[in-house]
Symmetry: C2
């Protein structure tokens, strides 16, 4: 690719969004970042990788109220500052995302990257959805979840967590089509043809 | 087109969704229905066309509470049954949509058509968005609204009305990407290339 292009992929759990992103990166011969962002953020900050993993794409609301009480009492109570920690880890990760986008073309999965880079003219922001039955089957087959029921529960929980995380840091609805350049239901064409369509979108934009 | 295909287009006001739909219909040489649905629904039902125009893609909530009081008192109070009338007009229009889809390939704009036809295997459901500044300019230039400010107000009001109408009859969020096969921001490629991309999507699906 001559022209710099930063492709961000938000994705419903089980939609194949990560696989689609990886295939686009391979086709365009550009770097791909998903969980790799965590390692980079840990290295950048000096915080342990496990801290980023524990807080990956989620906000821990459980201590929010107690944290607030702590501040009302005059000073944060030790151990009740998970939200502030969330914010700090998010900021470190957002800085890593900005640095990667600065460096050159790439594909970045999740972590509000479309919002972090919303003013970057080289941004192409994607959202990948899928039919519920296809997503459940993918979760069972590819992610080796025990049963259809477990897969459905895990899917709902993960999407809720991702949606909350996105909403918390962007004040926007995660699934709202207006925040993306292109949203594709991967069940309609399947993974490979969805990749072809997205590459065509990128070509037409160039 | 050999295979039957029903393309439904939901669209933000000013996004060019109607124009995109018309151009797809012309390219594929299939009928296009937007305001035409109103004339057909009027003809089908015997109700006056003006009634459909007045209630087009909107729900009149203003009398909802009073209608409810009417029912609580034992019988609907005359003149307080706008919601029921909305429902009846919506049902007539939904029947027209089902009849058109039964007849053959076509493009249908708005009016919850993607939801009405959600179980039709020949359905391709689209949602067209656009950048706010582009939508405002289109509203001013193409729809001859007086000023930028008036255009923005009209845009917000129309989208709110369309969103409420969709939500009322589907119990779904109008802008939620998961309810569509493909959502495209028309500002990224412009109208003609967006039409090309959608035609490519339809080709890949065939």
């Amino acid at each position: 690719m001559d022209k710099k292009i930063i492709i961000t992929i938000a994705r419903e759990y089980g939609s194949g969004g990560r696989e689609i992103g990886k295939k686009i990166a391979d086709k365009l011969k550009i770097p791909f970042y998903d969980k790799e962002l965590i390692t980079m953020a840990a290295k950048e900050s000096g915080f342990k990788q496990e801290m980023f993993e524990k807080n990956d794409e989620q906000v821990d609301y459980s201590n929010n109220y107690l944290t607030a009480i702590g501040y009302v009492l005059g000073s944060p109570i030790a151990g009740l500052t998970d939200i502030s920690m969330n914010d700090e880890l998010h900021q470190i990760q957002a800085n890593v995302i900005r640095q990667l986008a600065e460096k050159g073309s790439c594909v970045i999965v999740g972590r509000c990257a479309n919002y972090v880079l919303r003013n970057d003219p080289s941004l192409v922001s994607l959202f990948i959805t899928g039919k519920t039955e296809d997503k459940i089957l993918r979760v069972v087959n590819d992610y080796h979840t025990a049963s259809l029921e477990d897969a459905e529960k895990l899917m709902e929980k993960t999407d809720k967590r991702r949606g909350n995380y996105y909403n918390y840091y962007t004040n926007q609805d995660w699934k709202d089509a207006q925040h993306y350049d292109l949203c594709v239901n991967s069940s309609v064409l399947g993974i490979d043809k969805t990749v072809d369509l997205i590459c065509e979108f990128i070509n037409l934009k160039a």
